[in-house]
Amino acid sequence: MKTYKYTDFQLEQFLLNELPDEIMDNIRIQIQTDSELKSRVDKLKNSSSDILEKYTADLMAAKIRSGIMLEKEKIYASASGVQKNNLAVKDNTPFMKIFSDYFKGKSLKLVYSISAASVATLAAFVIIFNLPGIFTGSIPVKDDDVIRIKGMEPGISIHRKTGSSIEKLKDMAKASRGDLLQIGYISTGEYKYGTILSIDGRGSVTLHFPESESGETLIKLNRKVMLKRAYELDDSPYYEKFILIISVKPIDVKSVIEKAKILAQSRESALNGQLTADGSSLEFSLTLKK
């Protein structure tokens, strides 16, 4: 029997059952005798399982939905000729790169005005580069001193100051006692309420936003917002998991903290458990290894 060399895309379509019947049948038959073809198909199947395990449907769908809302806004604005907020910068521009390139004098296609950019960028620099101590020094920056960037996705970010440099920490990054961290968040769409807390390896729960259990949970939308105060890691062992919850409704912070304390009772639940279960909120986390 003549064997045919199928392309990767044809095999993708085979797995999706999106090829004409004749080709589907041919592949099914050829797989019986063609070990290389079978191996390629198996590899794709395994890869799909790995991807869906690593990037779960619920998390990705939340990000995609959020992006769709922003995209529809853009489409609408484009169709109606509306001039959107002139503090927007190019899509997908990494947050730190905006700062570093701006100060290197690159234009970076920034479409916001110099005056507005100066205020916003300088404010963010003050937040990031002049980190105060543990919940002590407050930063002389107003709530509105934030950067608005189009095409953003909701989530939590952590920056660490090491000497004179600032680095953005990825999930499961290594961190140590004494590290100075700046927590930031982005929320979009209808998720206009939020809270941020962390659980450490000793099972302690720390509230980062709002500043008290009774504080206002209303947050900024469509902007990268840095909390007013930096956070210094203590000597608690193993990990510190930072959790952002954004919601379409005001959040009962006290109740969230109570749930967090329950999760914090075991490392397994602290690292893998979730604080929210209803459809009106989204939860994001970033864990640092210690």
């Binding site: 999706l16 890869s47 991807i51 449907a57 990705m60 995609i64 992006g67 769709i68 996705e153």
Partner: protein, 161 residues
């Protein structure tokens, strides 16, 4: 067309991410590109038909990744594959029209851009016959599309196309 995002991602996400990985060679950027593909497609879900969407998603993924490479080149960022960047940045007359509204062109099932064809030949290692089958062009039509690109790219990488 009403689409359940979770189901759509579960069905097509792995294919799209693999496509983005193959072009961008970087997990984070591939992940960004994959999300962008779904956002672009689902934002225009009213244009989706009941037909098999894998071709649409694959083409949009290819174009979004090529645009990312082109933008990186424009910004002078790391260029680790000269020829792929060259493809990303190259446009003939057809591509210029195509690029005016890439998404609409793909949704309207217009012929593949020269860039897409170049990727099939260079990156996917497809034969001229396979590309012809995939694009609906004749083999000579594929050759013709590649001729200009090949001449210009000759100095970059001899004998690829």
């Amino acid at each position: 067309m009403n689409i359940n995002v979770e189901e759509y991602y579960t069905k097509y996400g792995p294919m799209v991410l693999r496509r983005c990985r193959s072009i961008l060679k970087d997990e984070d950027r591939a992940l960004d590109a994959m999300q962008d593909v779904f956002i672009k497609v689902l934002s225009r879900s009213e244009k989706l038909t009941g037909d098999y969407p894998s071709s649409l998603l694959y083409r949009i993924a290819t174009n979004i990744c090529l645009n990312m490479l082109r933008d990186e080149k424009t910004r002078g960022e790391s260029v680790n594959d000269d020829f792929l960047y060259y493809i990303a940045d190259s446009r003939d007359g057809h591509d210029r029209l195509f690029a005016e509204n890439m998404l609409d062109s793909i949704f309207m099932n217009e012929k593949e851009s020269t860039r897409e064809i170049a990727v099939m030949l260079y990156l996917d290692r497809m034969t001229l016959e396979q590309v012809a089958d995939a694009t609906g062009l004749s083999v000579s039509g594929v050759r013709k599309r590649m001729r200009t690109l090949k001449e210009k790219a000759g100095a970059l990488r001899e004998g690829i196309l």
